[in-house]
Symmetry: C2
Subunit: 223 residues, 2 copies
DNA sequence: CGAGCCCTTGAACGCCGTCAAACTCAGTGG
DNA sequence: CCACTGAGTTTGACGGCGTTCAAGGGCTCG
């Protein structure tokens, strides 16, 4: 379990210059094209990395939960290729990217831990690509909530069958390559199939087995 | 330009145990679920990492060209989440993953180089997700060939307006989240618009400017 | 010369997007 | 206390983009 990064390498990370930093709901954490010299470890709240196209449409890349690291892709890219904003109020621990890279090459456990986080980010990205490329809207929706349930359960933020999700349907739709209107229909269908409900920020998974089968979900990539 | 990894850190890499290894066309380089203790640097040929779903449909994650590293995502995942096969005959330099990680923490330049490669892989994956999630089939197709042109030009394997591409339309379609039938229609449309031709493994970009505009292509993520 | 793979094209279907309207609810200010 | 606003949700009607199914083409290879 690599999530408790702060605990895992507490002694080490203390040697880095860390300061806590809060982002209010709706504010940017970093923007596309800007230099990014900081990395943020989320302690509370949800954030969201995304990309906006010339046409104005948005693709959400990833949702960042407590324990996740924001800006890992910046370890070696001076300019970020996408943006990130605070979906809720977000509290973070801010670390200087250069400091981190430095500590990185000096310490095996830290390097392993960071590489592990990057590796899981990558696996989730691949899974999202598979979803958007080859799953139907209904399957995608099911898969999304199963993945979320798993990630939250690993953090002790709810069980695998009930958890809070402070995301608008617009945001989720932009993550799944759907329109909000169609996502709403898929949510209704899942509810009518007695598989899952999502109401007022609260998710209930009613039949995990059938849902897992529908989504072709396989959880090993999350740990 | 980080592509010439072998040249860049030649002295260093020589200290690793490297042996050349060839994969014939159509053979697997690694398979989903198998332990992967090796990393391969492509020297000639094209490979393709992909994932197969229970339903049998396939999503291509990435095409690997000469200079690319296969198995980077395995740096910290014991079991691979997807598979990779040789699209053409592929010659590689094989490196022990553990050796690489070891050298990694001991040497800044190597670490920077590898992180850079991983970072570019990640940026391409994001761009593919944006394509599949938010671009029309025609835009996706245009974007795919522009990205390929850029990558190949960086390697000196053709100009930005003409290059070889030994991929079947099935393979490309599986990379773009389309059917081969529809990709074929999009190719026809691009040809009829005098933007691009793809015939017998050879690509001609006829109007780079209009194609770039159509695809909303922006090349900085490739370096 | 047949088998297999890939490319090409047509016809019809259906999933999902677009457009539009109504509803809830929190916040704001009169 | 209530009108007003704006963001988010829900639902219906309709159209189109992309899939599915089907057939025929060229090519290489045995």
């Amino acid at each position: 379990m690599h999530l408790a990064l702060l605990a895992l390498d507490e002694g080490l990370l203390k040697s880095l210059e860390i300061r806590s930093r809060v982002f209010e709901k709706g504010t940017d954490i970093y923007e596309e094209g800007r230099a990014c010299r900081k990395v943020y470890i989320v302690t509370t709240g949800w954030a969201c990395s995304y990309k906006i196209m010339r046409s104005g449409s948005r693709q959400v890349i990833d949702f960042k939960l407590p324990g996740d690291i924001i800006g890992l892709q910046a370890l070696n890219v001076i300019r970020s290729g996408h943006s990130c904003f605070a979906t809720t109020r977000v509290e973070t621990a801010e670390i200087n990217t250069l400091d981190l890279i430095h500590a990185f090459t000096a310490n095996d456990r830290l390097a392993t831990s960071i590489l592990g986080a990057a590796s899981r980010d990558d696996a989730m990205l691949v899974e999202r690509l598979v979803s958007v490329g080859r799953r139907s809207a209904l399957e995608r929706t099911a898969h999304f909530f199963l993945e979320l349930a798993e990630r939250l359960a690993l953090r002790g933020m709810g069980s695998k069958t009930a958890f809070d999700c402070p995301l608008s349907q617009f945001l989720i739709a932009d993550s799944l390559g759907l329109t909000a209107v169609h996502l709403n229909r898929m949510l209704r269908t899942l509810r009518e199939m007695n598989l899952l409900t999502f109401h007022e920020g609260h998710v209930h998974i009613l039949d995990q087995e059938r849902l897992t089968q529908l989504a072709d979900f396989e959880n090993s990539y999350l740990e």
